[in-house]
Symmetry: C2
Subunit: 435 residues, 2 copies
């Protein structure tokens, strides 16, 4: 039996490794377009900042771990041009053909760069190669502009400022980090703007020039910058899947079931190219996140090798460190919940990260979203310089378990003065959600 | 209607406040033996260390918050000598009598000091007054001995060493911090012993002398110390309850139901004097912990005032910071689980607190205890210098929700390099627990 995995990122390598563990006699081949497999793309901002010295540090494992220790064939620098489902063959970029009995598509996602920017040679960051090119681009730059105000945009801005650059962050919106409302976002945004030049409502942005000498024009002002990085979102790499007739949604995300099986019973999909079930809504969703991809890959690999695992879905928990701030969210915002037809409300709490008398305490801002009538927890956002990330994770576990705010209030989170007040901001938020 | 609360600690003041909110026309009186109400006894080690300047900083609220803002009568420096259940009266230490319609017993717990130590004037630490006396005791001391190796003992040792004292910690056991096995405890114990003089297997301990000049003798050695502090556990303050015929267990802990009602339908109990249900075993248990007491108090106060709240039980989540280490546990150890007849196993994982390439990462030691066959999570212990406490809280939420290791593996804990590796030690432990 031949299992072929397209893509050597988190999902692909997790799938290949799991498949080989489940069925060691299986022939497992990974085909990767780039030079690297099993790399930590989430670490690229730190490489650009300079706190990670080399892209080699971002490889989870050397290639030999997979080829020699785990017995996986790995073919790099080779793309798949087409999937011939009738003959169960892949047409490779070097003209060769590869047979498969089972196929796992783990082709990931790519930056969605507006044509007007890519025409100037501006690119996004996703693959390790794109990180290396950007590292080269900015090595002599004093001023860098980032287009896009999402998680990657604010994270990159933080990294580059801390790496010594002057940074412009360009946003189409009236504020950065949409999804965080005025109350929970205020303190963070104020500090962010002290360190990053934020250009808001810049939907009229025009960029001219070339690498080393760009000019941004928006709202009557012009800004000279050395380098421009696009961080305007990502799109799934699913052209070959769609061309082969595999079912995808309107955004091009491959539709999968709980076994990570696609519309073709021989073909699985996992990672940033594949859909998941949002466990809060029960509806298909897209959570292109490293830990979700890893787990999807694990499930796809197990099932493709004859095992039986079910991926129960995900809630989109996202964490990021921006300057000294920890920012995280899980599940739905009130706005998202209402779009999904849920009767939702938000409780905002400003509490402290440690007991009032304990040194080093920081404000903790919490938005907790619950469903009226049932009291079920739907989501939370947390912002703090101390302990926001793992507070979000505690809520994520509760949401996955479909706890109500009342059950979460009574869940026995431990207390000690260095780690929280005796009524933690999360517990206060759960309490107020019950009223 | 008169509601009387005996005890002005966490449970008592939470009960009184909640009762008044549920029924503002209720007359609510709190009778407290000491001078203070609503104080943070968990903060006493930091006061002794010197990072909290004054015991006044450990008061959650000034007395006026309760008497004037919340409309609660507070009587301090007055004990209750007896409960006359037939006449629904309390006999106070000043000879007065107080009627009640509903009574809440929140008398807390006291240090269990061996007679041989208390005969020498050695005491434990629990009330704010005991903290003040100890602060005075140690003010001119260079060398302090702590008897007892539990959470309070190791926390006090850490505080006093960091406050500039030389500290002996005396343990009856072969190692400190029983409940943490050799694997998970090793790194912590090694560092602890570099900073604290640990005397193990000291069940032959003899203490002589008096405050300012004690001598410890154990296993053929003698140690001169200035001050001795007892940290050998606590006992519930339930003499008046038991004398009045209220049902208690063999340890003297008042038996309560989910409404925090005692065997007398007019009398509730809450806090360190009252039993809880261990939500893992479903059996009665004792969790004398601040956050549990607060919630018990809340429930007792609501029900005593005519509301209806159920306390679902607790899992005993305990967190402590000792030197740079965060130490926490929740639910059962394998040993405890087996004593309760559960078919349990432990998975040990040594992972890292951040992504491998991210600066400042620390080892994370995890013991995860699950039930064989069902896979249900029963408990966890976590030790690390980075992020152990809130990792334990994430597990606590999962245990409260009765998640299996598989469900917890798939619960969508967020990932970002500063907060964990992409496979967090908790997730690895859950994964290995599934095998």
């Amino acid at each position: 039996m031949d299992l072929v995995v397209i893509g050597g990122g988190a999902a692909g390598m997790a799938a290949a490794s799991k498949a080989k563990r489940v069925n060691p006699s299986l022939s497992v081949t990974v085909i990767e377009a780039g030079r690297y497999v099993s790399y930590a793309e989430c670490g690229i901002p730190y490489y650009l900042e300079g706190i990670v010295a080399s892209p080699a540090d971002l490889l989870h494992y050397p290639l030999e771990e997979f080829t020699q220790k785990r017995g996986i064939n790995v073919i790099t620098r080779t793309s798949v041009n087409a999937i011939d489902r009738k003959n169960r063959e892949l047409i490779l970029s070097n003209g060769a053909k590869t047979r498969y009995d089972r196929l796992i598509i783990a082709t990931g996602a790519s930056p969605k760069v507006p044509d007007s920017l890519s025409a100037l040679g501006i690119h996004g960051i996703r693959s390790l190669e794109s990180g290396e090119i950007t590292h080269q681009d900015i090595s002599n730059a004093a001023v860098v502009a980032i287009i896009g105000d999402g998680i990657l945009g604010i994270e990159l801005a933080s990294s580059l400022v801390q790496g010594g650059k002057k940074v412009y962050l360009v946003s189409r919106h009236s504020e950065i980090l949409k999804g965080f409302d005025a109350k929970i976002g205020a303190a963070f945004r104020e500090e962010f703007k002290q360190r990053v030049n934020v250009l808001t409502e810049a939907s009229d942005l025009e960029v001219t020039g070339s690498n080393g000498a760009f000019v941004l024009a928006t709202r009557g002002n012009k800004f000279a910058v050395d380098v421009v990085i696009s961080a305007t979102g990502i799109v799934p790499n699913t052209k070959i899947a769609i061309d082969a007739g595999i079912a995808a949604d309107s955004r091009g995300i491959i539709i999968t079931d709980g076994h990570m099986l696609t519309s073709d019973p021989s073909i699985y999909a996992a990672g940033d190219c594949a859909s998941t079930t949002n466990t809060v809504t029960g509806q298909p969703d897209w959570h292109p996140l490293a830990q979700v991809s890893n787990k999807m890959g694990r499930v796809a690999g197990s099932n493709a090798a004859g095992g039986s695992m079910v991926f129960p879905g995900s809630v989109g928990t996202t964490l990021v460190k921006v300057f000294d701030y920890e920012i995280g969210f899980t599940g739905l915002t009130e706005e998202q919940a209402k779009k999904d037809g849920l009767d939702a409300k938000t409780i905002f709490v400003k509490g402290m990260s440690k007991a009032g008398y304990y040194p080093g305490k920081q404000p903790v801002f919490v938005n907790m979203v619950t469903e009226n009538v049932t009291g079920r927890m739907l989501g939370a956002q947390v912002v703090s310089k101390d302990g926001a990330a793992w507070r979000v994770n505690a809520v994520a576990a509760a949401i996955q378990a479909r706890l109500t705010a009342e059950a979460f209030f009574f869940s026995d989170l431990g207390y000690s003065p260095p780690f929280g007040p005796v009524w933690d901001p999360l517990i206060i938020a759960a309490d107020l959600s019950m009223k």
